[in-house]
């Protein structure tokens, strides 16, 4: 029963927001609802940790026929991290977003994103997964263009077209798969594939289409172009939300599909996935170093860090998958927090151009600390959470005898450090250039002057990053257990099909 609640709670909030339009204090209700969602997902994680997996069959139809919602350890962790990211974004938006955007349904569509994301994490049926993707994408299209600045409209046209194409590829793959196998339940498909022994070659077109769909959604090389062209255009809190949630859903689905289906044809998929991972890491980080806009640098780093997760998936050992899961969770939190700091800089200075900024450490030391924590967690400095993630991944790579790939990952880490240091030097450390007069744009004065909620949101995220790094052992143990159940899909299949 609890499995379905992370989907229903955002829906209830959306209905509330639709029916009660002229209501004051909607931001506080949104924060309260997202807090409730965090509590729900904590409960879900506890419940899953006790029993291993819980599922619910929609409409009480038995498994291969009805729609399954299933939470195993991996998806429960993802739901928890997504709800934390979402709550931070909601709290942050109280003092960072203008009242015009707030009153035109920002909160309603944000909860639409949350509903889609939670649904995709919990879906146990591929067409249902597509529907949740669309729920998430529709809400994100609207948030991307919400407000209607020229840049935003341009960014959202690019974002919209490429994401729609990825959806079409995905759903075409589902159609072909259904035509061949006659089922849509993920466990049932995996069961049928196992019964085949070797993967029949008729299924390859469907899986290739699905893989490309996920790769576009997850912004892997060579399908990443929509991301840096659109992520820096909407208001900072929207970017933070997108960076924390959207691409990660594509990667989550890739991991789920790889462990259930693709790995049964490992000699074809494993080199492909590793190649895509290495290219994403290297190309993402190299293009990031050449950028001179705060949010663009961070956007390119999304591509690079998604590559790390896919690399851990490509190793396909328990350690590699555990590292990938840990890194995915860490990246959602750290990346969101880095974007939240970018939003604060934007609010104070009115620009995010690295060349014209400076002196931020002297003026706002607390926020410099927040940036330091999240950025150097992304770069992988101990004792922050990113260090644990990268350590697990590289160790798993060396153990799985992919030494060269592990070395590449290590070098990519240096480049990440380089561009984080670049942001640190340019924004926080150097003196403001003399001749560059920074003017805060006047149209933004609808934004509240207060920054208290922003500080709380970002501070809480920074605290989580530090705690996840210092007390990493229980989290890593949890991730290892999640990886064990991912690497043996029989458990998942039996649970869904036989209820055991």
């Amino acid at each position: 029963m609890i499995t379905a609640l992370p989907v229903f709670l955002p829906l209830a909030f959306m209905i509330f927001a639709l029916l009660f339009r002229h209501y004051h204090g909607r931001e506080y209700i949104a924060v309260a609802a997202s807090g409730l969602n965090v509590l729900l997902s904590v409960f879900l994680v506890f419940k899953v940790h006790q029993t291993g997996m819980i599922s619910v069959q929609m409409g009480d139809w038995p498994a291969p026929y009805g729609i399954t919602l299933i939470a195993d350890r991996f998806s429960a962790l993802m739901v928890l991290v997504a709800s934390i990211v979402f709550m931070a974004a909601m709290a942050y938006s109280v003092h960072s977003l203008d009242t015009r955007r707030k009153s035109f349904g920002f909160y309603m569509f944000s909860f639409g994103i949350l509903m889609g994301v939670n649904g995709s994490f919990l879906a146990g049926d591929i067409f249902n997964l597509y529907v949740w993707f669309e729920v998430m994408l529709m809400a994100s299209f609207i948030l991307m263009s919400h407000g209607g600045d020229r840049n935003q409209l341009e960014g959202s046209i690019k974002y919209l077209i490429l994401n729609l194409i990825s959806s079409f590829l995905f759903v075409a793959g589902i159609g072909l798969l259904y035509g061949k196998l006659g089922t849509l339940n993920m466990a049932d498909i995996a069961q049928k594939l196992m019964n085949f022994g070797t993967m029949p070659s008729e299924l390859n077109p469907a899986f290739i289409l699905i893989f490309v769909g996920f790769a576009i959604k997850g912004a892997l090389v060579p399908f990443f172009f929509w991301l840096p062209a659109s992520y820096h255009t909407p208001p900072p809190v929207v970017t933070a939300l997108f960076a924390g949630l959207l691409t990660k859903v594509g990667i989550y689905s890739l991991i789920r599909f790889y462990t259930l289906f693709f790995h049964q044809n490992a000699e074809f998929w494993q080199p492909l996935v590793l190649l895509v991972a290495v290219l994403s890491m290297v190309i993402g980080v190299i293009t990031a170093t050449s950028q001179f806009e705060f949010r663009k640098v961070l956007s390119f780093h999304i591509i690079s860090q998604v590559g790390y997760v896919v690399m851990g998936l490509g190793f396909f050992t328990v350690a590699g998958l555990a590292g990938a899961i840990f890194f995915l969770a860490h990246n959602m939190i750290s990346k969101t927090n880095a974007f939240l700091v970018a939003g604060y800089v934007h609010k104070q200075k009115g620009t995010l151009d690295l060349k014209t900024l400076g002196d931020f450490y002297k003026q706002h030391p607390l926020w410099a600390v927040f940036f330091f924590i999240s950025a150097f967690s992304l770069a992988g400095l101990p004792p922050l959470s990113g260090f644990i993630g990268k350590y697990l991944l590289i160790k798993a790579g060396i153990e799985a005898e992919y030494t060269i790939i592990a070395l590449i990952a290590l070098f990519v880490g240096f480049f990440t450090l380089f561009s984080m240091v670049k942001i640190w030097m340019e924004v926080f450390w150097k003196k403001t250039p003399e001749n560059e007069e920074i003017t805060i744009k006047k149209e933004q004065n609808e934004i509240p002057e207060n920054v208290r909620w922003m500080t709380w949101a970002s501070g809480a995220m920074a605290l989580i990053i530090v705690l996840a790094g210092v007390f990493a052992t229980p989290v890593v143990d949890y991730c290892t257990q999640a990886a064990q159940s991912l690497i043996n899909p029989e458990e998942y299949i039996n649970f869904v099909l036989k209820g055991q």
Partner: protein
């Protein structure tokens, strides 16, 4: 442009379409039909009405903002979804009651919600497009 015959016919047509939509909605309980198609047909009636009279008249006829129609449709479907959870069944489980010889169930409630939702969404889409394009005003 004012055209008396067209206006009368369209008004008549509106009532026929809405009546037919209700017929399809209740037919969908055990036969082909259902909430989605009924919503489409009802909103097609209003679309014709809007083409002739303009979007303000459609909103006048509805007496409310389409937003509230969408919201209440979602609410009805949502109630039908979570109602079985109160009785310990998984969400969306059909619950059947014998009401005075009629065999009714929560799927009917869900379908009514879908009808209201689809109707609201399509009316909202075309009134907005008509407003933007300044159709007939």
């Amino acid at each position: 442009m004012k055209n008396l015959i067209l206006e009368k016919i369209v008004t008549l047509f509106l009532y026929i379409m809405v009546g037919f939509a209700f017929f399809l909605l209740f037919r969908g309980h055990n036969r082909p039909g259902g909430g989605f198609i009924a919503g489409i047909i009802a909103s097609a009636g209003f679309l014709l009405y809007g083409i002739v009279f303009g979007s303000e008249k459609v909103l006048e006829k509805l007496r409310t903002n389409p937003r509230y129609i969408i919201g209440s449709g979602l609410l009805i479907s949502f109630i039908a979804t979570i109602l079985p959870m109160m009785f310990g069944n998984p969400p969306l489980t059909g619950m059947w009651f014998d009401v005075a010889g009629l065999y009714l169930g929560s799927p009917l409630l869900f379908d009514i919600g879908v009808f209201v939702l689809v109707f609201g969404v399509i009316v909202s889409i075309f009134t907005n497009i008509m407003d933007v394009l300044k159709w007939n005003s």
